[in-house]
């Protein structure tokens, strides 16, 4: 595939910035996991709360970089013309660097208690979780989003010519800016401030980013598999509709325990239960699109990460999100390690993997590399996927112990009782973190140097592997819709076990008598089962896709080997 519009190249710098920020963010994550084991590490130099703020903020910023890169790459293709005002995009890039540096510097002021108050506003840092930076960063971010929305909307053709993909991206970039405005309020009452903070964080994630995600996944699949754009348009339309039908009210599960009216608990629980529906829809959408033809994967890492994005969205946002958003389960799980278990899989899985997928799709095209060694990309994917699933495993099982020790037994939070009980899982976190960090370095190195290294060595296929090393096994046979449905069902069965485990904390046997057998047993079956099934399903799906390469390139062998299997 050749680049069609020169302004698409502007996306490259955003992808590169994304990779740099991703690696730094993972570095902060590693530090946090070590500080969980030994809280004295870098105490006074880089305190846990500051490192955590950096980790969270950089997480949002690098994912936004990926989104901006992907949107800039596809916008000229959707508009069939060059990007409007490329100088504004260049300005946006430098503004983004300023925001990142400003953020990283001012968040450290939290350690010495400086917020830079002026005219009743915290200009340097405000300390609200996820929205830690001060007003100056907030205003700059708003200007940045305004530039992005303006350029994308001016690049698009007149509204009457829009299809569903234009609508998805158009609504996405506009809503990105509008929702951010809620983060600029400062309200003296902390509960009301929390209310608006959650507007930004969760209407972004569950309302706006989901819309951009569905749209970008749809368009990337159109580009990769030559899928009928009308079918993708249908999927994008109903995906967006279901996100908003369920998510706009379902977001009320964040209002349960922050001092907001109790009536949210009914609608919040009810509509939260419906929030996985668009994710199930997206799951089937990618399965069907990937199977519209049986052509081999031209760009395997790009598809690996798209699939990873949709599957981890199903697991992290869908199943683990479902299990903990009822008032009855959330009362135990909120604010414990159960939350980052869900959050890491949902945020990195859904949005981070999509940014990396878009980079893997766009960078070879922009660097004019037709045949690159795809082994590093695949290795990076497996390291990131396994590392993230492992971290989710540690977070969730650690969180289950935490609920029991901290909330049921009521032992001292800071006294070390909880830390001792969670010890094994606190140790697992940096171990899987190392795996993830290596994956992040591999992906960053691969993408940054792509096209500058020697491409696929002679005698290898387009994926960098020797042409004769792909055995066609039963694991690589075509994946039917029925089988995909069974895998999905298995994931949800484990999800149901996890949900029952959290619900069991309400039983008098656990809550009054202090018997942890049932929640521990259900969590011990549910979490490892879910994460293992996820890993196996991704392996199975990708093996079936990889077998296509073999089938097309060596048709004669294909006829022989299945009979032997």
């Amino acid at each position: 595939m050749q680049i069609e519009y020169q302004t698409q190249r502007l996306s490259l710098r955003f992808f590169m910035l994304m990779l740099v920020l991703f690696v730094i963010q993972v570095g902060y994550g590693m530090l946090l996991s070590v500080q969980q084991v030994d809280p004295t590490v870098l105490a006074g130099v880089m305190n846990f709360n500051v490192a955590r703020a950096e980790h969270l903020n950089l997480g949002i910023l690098w994912i936004l970089c990926g989104f901006i890169g992907a949107i800039l790459f596809v916008s000229p293709l959707l508009s069939k013309r060059e990007m409007f005002a490329p100088w504004l995009i260049k300005l946006l890039f430098y503004a983004l660097i300023v925001i990142v540096l400003w953020n990283m510097f001012t968040l450290r002021l939290a350690q010495v208690g400086i917020a830079g108050w002026w005219h009743g506003q915290p200009w340097l840092q405000q300390g609200l979780e996820y929205l830690e930076p001060g007003r100056i960063a907030g205003v700059l971010v708003l200007v940045g989003f305004a530039i992005l929305a303006f350029v994308v909307l001016r690049t698009f053709p007149p509204v009457r010519q829009w299809n569903e993909i234009h609508w998805g991206l158009g609504l996405g970039v506009s809503a990105l800016m509008v929702v951010w405005v809620f983060g600029l309020f400062y309200v003296a009452r902390l509960d009301l401030q929390e209310y608006f903070r959650w507007f930004v964080v969760h209407y972004w994630v569950e309302g706006v980013w989901e819309v951009i995600h569905i749209t970008l996944v749809g368009f990337l699949l159109v580009l990769m598999f030559k899928v009928d754009i009308k079918s993708v348009g249908f999927a994008v339309f109903w995906g967006v509709a279901l996100v908003w039908l369920s998510g706009l009210i379902g977001n009320a599960h964040h209002y349960f325990w922050i001092g907001t009216p109790a009536f949210w608990q009914f609608w919040g629980s009810l509509f939260s239960a419906l929030e996985p529906l668009p994710l199930v829809f997206c799951f089937w959408h990618i399965y069907l699109d990937a199977h519209t033809n049986k052509r081999p994967l031209e760009n395997a890492p790009a598809f690996y990460f798209i699939l990873g994005s949709v599957v981890l969205e199903q697991i992290g946002a869908g199943i683990l999100g479902f299990s903990m958003t009822f008032a009855l389960t959330n009362v135990w799980s909120h604010g414990t390690w159960i939350t980052p278990g869900h959050g890491h899989l949902a945020l990195f899985g859904t949005f981070g993997m999509l940014g990396i997928a878009a980079a893997y799709f766009a960078v070879p095209i922009m660097r004019q590399v037709n045949n690159y060694d795809q082994r590093l990309g695949k290795l990076g994917f497996w390291l990131l996927l396994t590392g993230m699933l492992g971290m989710a495993f540690a977070f969730n099982l650690g969180g289950t112990v935490q609920i029991y020790v901290y909330r049921i037994l009521g032992l001292d939070w800071f006294g070390g009782d909880v830390a001792h009980a969670m010890g094994v899982f606190k140790l697992l976190l940096p171990l899987f973190g190392v795996l993830f960090a290596v994956g992040a370095l591999v992906v960053a190195y691969d993408l940054i140097t792509l096209g500058r290294r020697i491409s696929a060595p002679a005698g290898t296929d387009a994926h960098g592997g020797a042409a004769t090393v792909h055995p066609v096994t039963r694991w690589g046979r075509p994946l039917s819709g029925f089988e995909a449905g069974i895998w999905l069902l298995m994931m949800w069965v484990f999800g149901a076990i996890i949900t029952l485990g959290l619900l069991s904390f309400n039983l008098p046997r656990v809550r009054v008598e202090g018997d942890p057998t049932l929640p521990y047993l259900l969590a011990g079956i549910g979490y490892p089962g879910l994460l293992l099934v996820t890993l196996l399903f991704v392996w199975r799906f990708l093996a079936s896709m990889e077998a296509r390469t073999y089938a097309v390139e060596t048709p004669s062998l294909l006829r022989i080997l299945p009979a032997q299997a």
């Binding site: 509709a241 009914f266 609608w267 629980s269 009810l270 529906l277 069907l288 519209t292």
Partner: protein, 83 residues
């Protein structure tokens, strides 16, 4: 028609389960204590909206699969024409 009845039944059942999972937390009538009618409208509206969302989901998923079947049918016809 059968489809619609089946979809509606599944939607209602799914939403009943969702309601049961939120059971103990909305019975306090704490915020509209003077008006049980307001609570009733709130419950019924929420339930009907939720059933609608689930119903839309099933319907759109069915059409998604129909698209796929049609595309495969078209591809098979094209292939037959070429051969």
């Amino acid at each position: 028609m059968t489809h619609r009845i089946t979809d509606l039944t599944i939607s209602v059942l799914a939403c009943v389960i969702a309601v049961l999972l939120s059971w103990p937390f909305w019975r306090s009538y704490a915020y509209w204590p003077e008006s049980h009618l307001a609570w009733l409208i709130y419950f019924v509206t929420g339930f009907v909206l939720a059933v609608y969302v689930f119903y839309v989901f099933i319907g759109s998923l069915r059409i998604l699969f129909l698209h796929d079947t049609q595309e495969q049918g078209t591809a098979a016809t094209d292939k037959a024409k070429i051969s």
